[in-house]
C-alpha cells in the first residue's frame, strides 16, 4: 500500500506539469470528398489530452508546444498523425480506411491503435452489419471475425447461440466468452428455467452498437484474468457527437422462411413403404392396416387424407424494425438518445420476439480536466418461445405424423387428437409460453485528467435483468391435461460493477513511449428466482395460478458471487518499432476455494514493426510489416458459485424438513487455467491496398473441473477437482484488399480459421453422451468426438443392415450385436470443422452499394439423432424421409437403405448411419442499396437518404440432408455437439429498408 503511494508520487514528480509554451491549435477535418467530418477524435500524441470535431468538422485544442503532434482518428478512417510545426491553423483530410491498421481498437480499460497492437484482437464496426436484419448482435460476428466460431444452433428466436473463441476450453465449465458492454461484464448465460437456453444477449439492440472487439490471445485478454479463457467480447455503444442536432431514422421490414424444408413421404408412398414393412416384419407377415389401427386406434389407414404435417410446423415469418436516434451537443456536453423497436415473427409456429429498447448516452465536460457521463439503457422484450427439441410439443416433431392422418378430426371439426404422436398444433391453440424480459445495462462514469499524462477514471455500472416466464397449457394439451396447467417463473438478476483505473502516457526522450494502466474492478452478481406451478383451472380461459385448485410446485431461491480484481498494464514502444507489452491481473472470487482465492494472470508480448526500419521504410511494395508474439495466462471462472464448498441442504420426511450433506467440496478448487502462446504477422502491401494478418495460437488448458470418484462408504460419491487438461491449436488468416478505388470501389475481406482441440488428460475417465447420442470425451481425442457403431450399408443378399467391427470386418446386424462392446464401438466422426471463415465483398458506384458476405464451415460431421425415427426404413409408423423409398427389395440390390421390417429394428441401432458431412457455404448476408444524391436530399432538408434491400441466409450450399447444417440440439448434454434432433432450421430473411438522417 505504502509502496504504491510512493510509486504514484514518484510518477507524478517526474511528470511535473510542464505547461510552458502551450497554445491553442484549431482547424477543420474533412473526408476525401471534401465534406466536413464531425466526431473525429483529436488527441495530442503521447498525452491523454483530446477533443472531438464539431458538426462542421472543426476543432480546437491546447498543445504543449510547437513540436507537438496531433493524432486524428475516426472509425472507418485511417488514423493520421500531423505535426503541429508551430502552426495555429491545421486542415486535415482523412482517408476512408480499407485496411484496419490505422483504426482505434478498444482494449480492456483503454484503447490502442491497431498498428501498435501486440495481441490478437478482432474488431467489427457497426457499419459492417448495420443494415442486416440480425436476430441478435452476435449473429453479426458470424463469419466476420477470424477465430470466432459461431453456431446459431437453431432457427428459434431468442435462443442461445454457441460462440467459441479459438476452440473449446472446458469440459464442465462454460465455453462462452465473457461479454463486456461499455465496461460492464454482462449477463450472457441463460437465466430461465426452460430446457432450451434463453439468450439474454438477444435483448440488446444491434442499432445501439458502435463496435465489437473480440480479445482472443492472452496478451489481449489477460487483463480480464480469471474470466478470459474463452475470449472476451467488448461491446461499445454509440456515443453522442457535438454539433448540430442530428436525427437518424431507419426502418425496415421483411419476410422470413426456412432455409430449407426436408422431403417426406406422401400418403401413397407411406402406404407403399409400410405395406412392405409389415409384410416383411420379423414378427411374421403382418397386415399394415391392422397394425396401424392397433397403434393409433384409428382406421386412418383406409382414409383418403394426405396431410403435409412437416409444413404445418412452419408459418410465414416476418420482421419489422424501426429505430430513431438523435445526437448532438456542444463542446461541453454531448448526447445520444435512441430508441429501437424490433418485432420478429419466427418461421416456427408460435415463435416470436418483440423488443423495445431505449438509450441515453450523455457526456459532460465540467472542465478541461473533468468529465462525467452516463450510458442508460432500458429494454423490454417479449419472447414467445417454442419447446425443447425433444418435446412432443416441438412443432418440428409434427413431421413424424403419418400423412394418412388428418389434421382436423372430421368427427369434431377440431384439431385431430387421435394422431400417432401428439398433434402439437393443439398446444398452440390451447396454450402459451411467454418470456418477458426487462433489462437495463447502464453506467455512470467520471474521468479526471489529473495532468496531461495521468488520468483517473471511475465507472459504476449495473446490469439488471428481470425475466418473467409465463406458461399455460390447456386441458386439451399433452402436458396440461386433464385440468390445465399454469407455470410462472420470475428471475431477477443484478450485476453491479465498479472499475477504477489510472491511465498514464509518457514519452521519454525520442525513443521511448510508455502507456500504462493500473486499476481495480469489483463485481457482484445476485440471482433471485421464484416459481410455481398450478393445476386444476376452471376452464381454459383461466391461465393464472390464482385460479388453480392445486399448487403442485413452488420454489424460491437466491445465489450470488463476487469478484475483486486488481490489474496493471504497461505498453512500451521503443524507437517507434519495438513494442513491448506486459499485463497482469490479480483476481479474487467467492467462487474460488478458500485456499485458492486469488489468482494471478500475467501476459507478456513483443512486437516488431519492421516496416519502420530504414531498409523497409521507403519500400514501394511493403507498406507495413509487423511480427508479434505473446504468451500469457487466463482463467475460466464459470465453475458454479459454490462448487468448492462442502454443503448441507434440506431434505424431507413427510411434513418435516431435515438437513443432509449435499456435497463435499475441495477447498483448493479454483478456476481452470489456460496458457496461450500466440505468434502473428501483420503486413500491408502497396500502400496498404492489401493488408493481411496471420496468427498461430497454442492454448493449453489445465485444471479442468472433473468429478473424481470417492469411496461411497464415507458418505460421498464424487468430489469436483481441477484435474483435466486439453489443448487447442490453430491458425487464423485475414486478408483485406482494396481492389478498386476511385469512383467504382471494390474491397474484399477474407478470413479463414482453424482450431484443433484435444483432450489430453481426463484422469483416465470418459464422458459418454448417452444411449442415443454419439458425443464422447476421452483422453487423446477432440472434445465431443463421435463414438459408436460404424454403419456399413446393406447386405445385398438379404437386405440386413451391416456394420463394421473394429477390425474392419463387415457383419450383419445380429452378428454385430453379439460382439462385445469393445469390438463394436469406434470413432465415427468429428464435430469440429477443419476450417471456417468468411468472404466479404463490398462494391460501391455512384451512390449504389452492394455488400455480399459469404460464410463457410468445412469438414465437420453432424449426427441426426432423429434418424432413429424418421430415416429408419419404416421400423415404426413415424413418417419417413423420402430417401427411405430406395429400400432393399430383392437380392443383389445395392442400396444404403435396409429392407423395411416393421418393429424389427433392421438398421435401427445407434450408428454412423445418420452421421453426415456438415460442411456448408452460405450467402450469409447481402445488402444492395442506393444513397440518394445529396443534391436531391438537401432539398428535402435531409442530410442523407439510403434505400436498400437486404437478405440473411439467402442461399446455402451443403451436402447435409437434414433441414439445416448450422445445427446444435440443446436438450442433450454439452458433450453432444453437432447433434440434430428435430431442430428447426435457420431462417432466410429478406427485407426492404431505408435510413434517413436530418
Amino acid at each position: 500500500m505504502k509502496q504504491l503511494l510512493t510509486l504514484l508520487c514518484l510518477l507524478l514528480g517526474t511528470t511535473s506539469l510542464l505547461m510552458a509554451q502551450s497554445y491553442t491549435v484549431s482547424g477543420q477535418v474533412k473526408d476525401e470528398a471534401g465534406d466536413p467530418l464531425p466526431g473525429v477524435t483529436v488527441v495530442v500524441k503521447n498525452t491523454i489530452r483530446g477533443t472531438t470535431t464539431g458538426n462542421d468538422g472543426r476543432f480546437s485544442i491546447q498543445v504543449p508546444g510547437p513540436d507537438a503532434v496531433l493524432v486524428f482518428s475516426y472509425t472507418g478512417y485511417t488514423q493520421q498523425e500531423v505535426p503541429v510545426n508551430a502552426q495555429r491553423e491545421l486542415d486535415v483530410v482523412l482517408a476512408e480506411s480499407g485496411s484496419a491498421l490505422g483504426e482505434v481498437v478498444v482494449v480492456g480499460f483503454g484503447t490502442a491503435y491497431r498498428q501498435d497492437l501486440t495481441g490478437s484482437i478482432a474488431k467489427l464496426n457497426a457499419r459492417e452489419f448495420e443494415f442486416q436484419p440480425v436476430q441478435t448482435f452476435e449473429n453479426a460476428i458470424q463469419g466476420r471475425a477470424a477465430g470466432v466460431f459461431i453456431n446459431s444452433g437453431s432457427g428459434k428466436l431468442g435462443q442461445g447461440l454457441n460462440i467459441r473463441v479459438r476452440g473449446i476450453s472446458s469440459v464442465s465449465a462454460s465455453n462462452q466468452p465473457l461479454f463486456v458492454i461499455d465496461g460492464i461484464p454482462v449477463i450472457s448465460e441463460p437465466v430461465g428455467s426452460a430446457t432450451e437456453p434463453d439468450n439474454p444477449l438477444a435483448t440488446i439492440a444491434p442499432e445501439d452498437i458502435e463496435s465489437i472487439e473480440i480479445l482472443k490471445d492472452a496478451a489481449a485478454a489477460a487483463i480480464y484474468g480469471a474470466r478470459a479463457s474463452n475470449g472476451v467480447v467488448l461491446v461499445t455503444t454509440k456515443s453522442g457527437r457535438a454539433g448540430r442536432t442530428k436525427v437518424s431514422f431507419g426502418v425496415y421490414g421483411g419476410w422470413s422462411s426456412p432455409t430449407r424444408k426436408r422431403e417426406w413421404l406422401n400418403a401413397a408412398e407411406y402406404r407403399e413403404l409400410f405395406t412392405y414393412a409389415a409384410q416383411n416384419s420379423d414378427f411374421g407377415e403382418l397386415d399394415a392396416a391392422e397394425e396401424f389401427a392397433s397403434e393409433t386406434g384409428t382406421d386412418d389407414w383406409n382414409s383418403n387424407y394426405d396431410t403435409d404435417w412437416a409444413s404445418e410446423a412452419f408459418q410465414p415469418g416476418s420482421v419489422r424494425n424501426a429505430s430513431l436516434s438523435i445526437t448532438g451537443g456542444d463542446a461541453r456536453t454531448t448526447f445520444l438518445v435512441s430508441g429501437t423497436w424490433n418485432d420478429q415473427v419466427g418461421i416456427l409456429r408460435g415463435n416470436a420476439l418483440d423488443r423495445l429498447t431505449g438509450r441515453i448516452n450523455l457526456e459532460h465536460k465540467a472542465s478541461n480536466r473533468l468529465r462525467f457521463g452516463t450510458n442508460l439503457s432500458l429494454i423490454k422484450s417479449l419472447n414467445q418461445r417454442v419447446p425443447s427439441d425433444n418435446a412432443f410439443s416441438n412443432p418440428l416433431q409434427l413431421n413424424a405424423l403419418p400423412p394418412i392422418q388428418p389434421k382436423i378430426d372430421p368427427a369434431t371439426g377440431k384439431l385431430n387428437q387421435n394422431t400417432l404422436y401428439y398433434n402439437n398444433l393443439i398446444d398452440l391453440e390451447n396454450g402459451f409460453n411467454n418470456a418477458t424480459t426487462y433489462r437495463s445495462i447502464s453506467n455512470v462514469y467520471g474521468q479526471w485528467d489529473i495532468t496531461d499524462r495521468l488520468s483517473f477514471r471511475s465507472e459504476y455500472g449495473i446490469d439488471w435483468l428481470n425475466l418473467q416466464e409465463e406458461q399455460f397449457r390447456g386441458r386439451q394439451t399433452l402436458d396440461g391435461a386433464p385440468t390445465g396447467q399454469g407455470y410462472s417463473n420470475q428471475v431477477n438478476v443484478l450485476n453491479q460493477n465498479v472499475n477504477n483505473f489510472f491511465q498514464y502516457v509518457q514519452k521519454f526522450g525520442k525513443n521511448f513511449d510508455l502507456n500504462a494502466t493500473l486499476g481495480m474492478q469489483y463485481q457482484s452478481g445476485n440471482t433471485r428466482s421464484t416459481s410455481s406451478t398450478g393445476e386444476g383451472l376452471p376452464n381454459d380461459r383461466f391461465t393464472k395460478i390464482a385460479s388453480a385448485a392445486k399448487i403442485v410446485q413452488a420454489s424460491s431461491n437466491e445465489s450470488a458471487y463476487a469478484f475483486t480484481s486488481y490489474f496493471a498494464r504497461a505498453n512500451v514502444k521503443l524507437f517507434d518499432r519495438i513494442l513491448v507489452g506486459l499485463s497482469g491481473r490479480l483476481d479474487g472470487s467467492s467462487r474460488f476455494g478458500k485456499n485458492n482465492r486469488f489468482g494471478f494472470f500475467p501476459a507478456g508480448s513483443l512486437g516488431y514493426i519492421l516496416s519502420n526500419e530504414s531498409f523497409l521504410r521507403d519500400n514501394k511494395i511493403v507498406s507495413f510489416l509487423k511480427v508479434r508474439g505473446s504468451y500469457g495466462r487466463t482463467g475460466n471462472a464459470e465453475i458454479g458459485n459454490f462448487a468448492w464448498r462442502s454443503l448441507w441442504g434440506a431434505s424431507f420426511v413427510g411434513d418435516l424438513a431435515g438437513i443432509v450433506p449435499t456435497r463435499i467440496g475441495d477447498e483448493n478448487l479454483t478456476w481452470e487455467t489456460t496458457d496461450q502462446l500466440n505468434v502473428g504477422l501483420d503486413f500491408g502491401l502497396f500502400n496498404d491496398r492489401i493488408s493481411a494478418s496471420v496468427d498461430y495460437f497454442d492454448k493449453r488448458t489445465k485444471g479442468l473441473l472433473l468429478n473424481l470418484p470417492l469411496p461411497a462408504s464415507n458418505g460421498f460419491t464424487t468430489i469436483t477437482k481441477n484435474i483435466g487438461d486439453m489443448t487447442n491449436t490453430g491458425f487464423e488468416f485475414i486478408l483485406t484488399t482494396q481492389n478498386l478505388v476511385g469512383k467504382f470501389r471494390w474491397s474484399t475481406s477474407f478470413n479463414l480459421s482453424t482450431y484443433r482441440n484435444k483432450v489430453t488428460n481426463m484422469n483416465g475417465s470418459t464422458i459418454d453422451g448417452g444411449s442415443r447420442q454419439l458425443g464422447r470425451v476421452s483422453e487423446g481425442q477432440p472434445f465431443g468426438y463421435f463414438w459408436g457403431p460404424k454403419y456399413a450399408g446393406v447386405n445385398p443378399d438379404n437386405g440386413n443392415a451391416q456394420y463394421f467391427d473394429t477390425d474392419g470386418n463387415i457383419l450383419d446386424q445380429d452378428d454385430f450385436l453379439a460382439l462385445p462392446d469393445e469390438k463394436r464401438n469406434q470413432i465415427v466422426g468429428n464435430p469440429h470443422p477443419d476450417f471456417f471463415g468468411g468472404l466479404n465483398n463490398r462494391f460501391s458506384f455512384m451512390g449504389f452499394s452492394l455488400d455480399v458476405q459469404l460464410q463457410f464451415v468445412y469438414g465437420n460431421d453432424l449426427y441426426n439423432i432423429a434418424g432413429f425415427f424418421q430415416s429408419v426404413n419404416g421400423d415404426y409408423f413415424d413418417n419417413q424421409s423420402k430417401d427411405q423409398l430406395d429400400y432393399w427389395r430383392q437380392p443383389g440390390q445395392i442400396t444404403k437403405i435396409p429392407e423395411p421390417r416393421l418393429y424389427s429394428g433392421n438398421g435401427a441401432i445407434k450408428s454412423s448411419r445418420w452421421v453426415q458431412d456438415g460442411s456448408y457455404l452460405r450467402v450469409r448476408a447481402l445488402t444492395f442499396g442506393y444513397t440518394l444524391p445529396r443534391s436531391l436530399t438537401s432539398r428535402a432538408r435531409m442530410e442523407n437518404l439510403f434505400l436498400y434491400v437486404s437478405a440473411q441466409n439467402l442461399f446455402t450450399f451443403t451436402k447435409y440432408e437434414g433441414y439445416d447444417p448450422e445445427v446444435n440440439a440443446t436438450y442433450i448434454s454439452a458433450v453432444n455437439i453437432g447433434h440434430d434432433f428435430y431442430t428447426p432450421p435457420q431462417a432466410r430473411i429478406i427485407t426492404l429498408g431505408l435510413n434517413a438522417s436530418f
Binding site: T564, G658, A712
Partner: protein, 460 residues
C-alpha cells in the same frame, strides 16, 4: 500539487479498500458444512435428514423391502417390469453394476455419515438428557443400517465358515467425513461378526437412552421400543432366540402398541397403534410416484402403480379362503398390466410405510418360545391365533415350527423379511441354497473402483 497528491491518496485508498471481505459469500439454499451443525436445533435437523435418506427408494422407501422379497421370489412373486436391475435380482444374476446394489450401498452410508456427524457434534448440546437422546437416535440409525448392509452384502450369519472370505462383512463406519481427506479414506471390509457386534452395541446404547414415545409429526422417529424391536430382529437373525424373545417380549409387554382391529388398517392409515417403526410420507415427499416407491412397483390400480411385482399362485394358495389377509390384502390388478394378483399393502403413494409392526413381535415371540420350549408372555399357539383371529380365519389348536414360520410369511409378506427369514432358517429359495453366493448382492463396481481396499463377494 499538494491537493492533487491528497486526492490521489484518497482515491488510491478507496481503490484498494477492502472488497476482499465481500468475497465471502454464503449460499442461501444450503449451509456450509463448517457452520451447519452448531446448535441443538441444527443437530435435530441433521437427524431428521438422516431419516429422510432412509425414507428414500434406495433404502426403506423401496429397496430394503423389495430387494429381500425378490431375492426370495421362488413360488412367491415375480418381477415383470422393465427395470433390468430388479429383473437381475429376481433371476439371481446380478451384475456388479446392478443399479439397486449400487444405490442402496451409497444411500446407507450417506445416512450413516449423517449419524456420525451428529455424534461428532453432539457435545454442542447443552442439555444432557437431550444430548443422550439424540446420540441414541444417531446410534440407532447407524446400527440398523449396518445391519441392513451386512444382511444384503455379506453371507448369512449362519452360513458355514469356509475361510476368511466367507466371513467378509461390510465396512463399519464410525467417524464422519467432513472434508476431502476424510471423504477419501479407503476402508476394508470388517467381518460379519464384527459388524453384528457393532450393530448390537449401537442398538443397546440406543435402547438405553431413546425416549419412551414420540408425539405428532415425530412419530416416525425411533423410540426405546423401536430399538428393542430391531434388536429382536438382529438376535433372531443370529438365531439367538433367548435374546430375540426377550426383546420381543419387552416390546409387547410395554403396552405401547396394540394390534389394529383389521389387517388393512396399518396400510391405510398413518401411525396406527400397531406400528413400531413407520416411514412418514405425504403427497409431496414420498418414496416415489413414477420410477420408484413401493406403490409404483407393487400396485395395479387405475392411475396408480404398474404391477411390476405380481404374486404367484403357490403363495396365494397358502391362505385359507376366509383369511382376510387374502381377501382384503391381495387383489386382482385393475390398472397397468391388469388381471394379476397384487399385494394390497402398498396402494397409495402418500401412505406411510410400516417397517416393523407389533404382529412381527408376536411371531418372533411365538417362534422363540417354541424353539426354547418356553411360554414367555403367552404360548406360541395363542400368539399365532391372535393374528389369525384378527384375520377372521380359523384358529389352530396346536402349532409346529412350520406353522409358525408359515404364519410369519402369511402375515409379513411383502414387508421386506422374505430372504432374511429364509436365510436364518436355512431354507432355500428355488434352486438357491440359503448360503448361495447368488443370494448376496455384489459390492458395487463403482465402489471397488474408488476403493482398492475392498474385496468383491464370491461369485462376482
Amino acid at each position: 500539487m499538494k491537493k492533487i497528491l491528497i486526492l490521489i491518496s484518497a482515491i488510491t485508498a478507496l481503490f484498494f479498500a477492502g472488497c476482499i471481505k465481500e468475497l465471502d459469500i454464503q449460499p442461501l439454499d444450503a449451509i456450509d458444512a463448517s457452520i451447519a451443525l452448531e446448535t441443538a436445533e441444527d443437530l435435530e435437523s441433521a437427524i431428521v435428514g438422516a431419516y429422510s435418506i432412509m425414507h428414500s427408494g434406495a433404502l426403506y422407501g423401496t429397496n430394503l423391502n423389495l430387494v429381500p422379497e425378490l431375492l426370495g421370489s421362488a413360488d412367491y412373486c415375480q418381477w415383470r417390469g422393465t427395470f433390468q436391475s430388479y429383473r437381475q435380482i429376481m433371476n439371481k444374476n446380478m451384475t456388479i453394476d446392478n443399479a439397486e446394489a449400487t444405490r442402496t450401498w451409497i444411500a446407507a452410508y450417506r445416512a450413516i455419515n449423517v449419524a456420525n456427524n451428529v455424534l461428532a457434534n453432539s457435545g454442542k448440546i447443552q442439555d444432557a438428557a437431550a444430548r443422550a437422546a439424540l446420540e441414541a437416535e444417531a446410534k440407532f440409525i447407524r446400527g440398523i443400517l449396518h445391519f441392513e448392509l451386512v444382511r444384503l452384502y455379506a453371507k448369512p450369519w449362519n452360513a458355514p465358515n469356509t475361510g476368511p472370505k466367507s466371513r467378509l462383512g461390510v465396512p463399519i463406519m464410525l467417524t464422519p467425513a467432513t472434508n476431502e481427506a476424510t471423504a477419501s479414506i479407503k476402508v476394508r471390509r470388517n467381518t460379519i461378526e464384527e459388524v453384528y457386534a457393532q450393530v448390537i452395541k449401537d442398538l443397546r446404547d440406543a435402547e438405553a437412552a431413546l425416549p419412551e414415545a414420540r408425539e405428532g409429526n415425530n412419530r416416525f422417529r425411533a423410540t426405546k421400543y423401536t430399538a428393542k424391536a430391531f434388536l429382536s430382529r438382529v438376535y433372531l437373525q443370529q438365531q439367538n432366540y433367548a435374546q430375540a424373545l426377550q426383546k420381543a417380549q419387552e416390546v409387547i409387554e410395554s403396552g405401547k402398541y396394540r394390534l389394529n382391529a383389521s389387517v388393512t388398517s396399518a396400510f391405510r392409515n398413518k401411525f396406527t397403534s400397531e406400528t413400531i417403526f413407520e416411514l412418514y410420507m405425504n403427497e409431496q415427499n414420498n418414496a416415489g410416484t413414477a420410477n420408484d416407491g413401493l406403490t409404483t412397483f407393487y400396485a395395479s390400480l387405475p392411475g396408480i402403480g404398474r404391477s411390476d411385482v405380481r404374486i404367484l399362485a403357490p403363495f396365494v394358495n397358502l391362505y385359507q379362503p376366509d383369511d382376510e389377509r387374502l381377501t382384503e390384502l391381495i387383489y386382482i390388478g385393475t390398472g397397468r398390466r391388469p388381471g394379476s394378483r397384487q399385494t394390497g399393502k402398498w396402494t397409495q403413494f402418500e401412505q406411510n410405510i410400516p417397517v416393523i409392526r407389533l404382529a412381527e413381535m408376536y411371531l418372533t415371540r411365538a417362534e422363540c418360545n417354541f424353539r426354547l420350549g418356553s411360554n414367555v408372555g403367552n404360548t406360541p399357539a395363542d400368539d399365532i391365533n391372535l393374528l389369525r383371529r384378527r384375520a377372521r380365519t380359523t384358529s389352530l389348536t396346536t402349532v409346529t415350527l412350520d406353522d409358525i414360520l408359515k404364519e410369519r410369511s402369511l402375515e409379513l409378506c411383502f414387508e421386506g423379511l422374505r430372504i432374511h427369514d429364509l436365510k436364518r432358517t436355512g431354507r432355500s429359495t428355488g434352486t438357491f441354497a440359503f448360503d448361495s453366493p447368488k443370494l448376496v448382492l455384489p459390492i458395487p463396481e463403482r465402489e471397488i473402483r474408488a476403493n482398492s481396499e475392498l474385496e468383491q463377494n464370491e461369485g462376482y
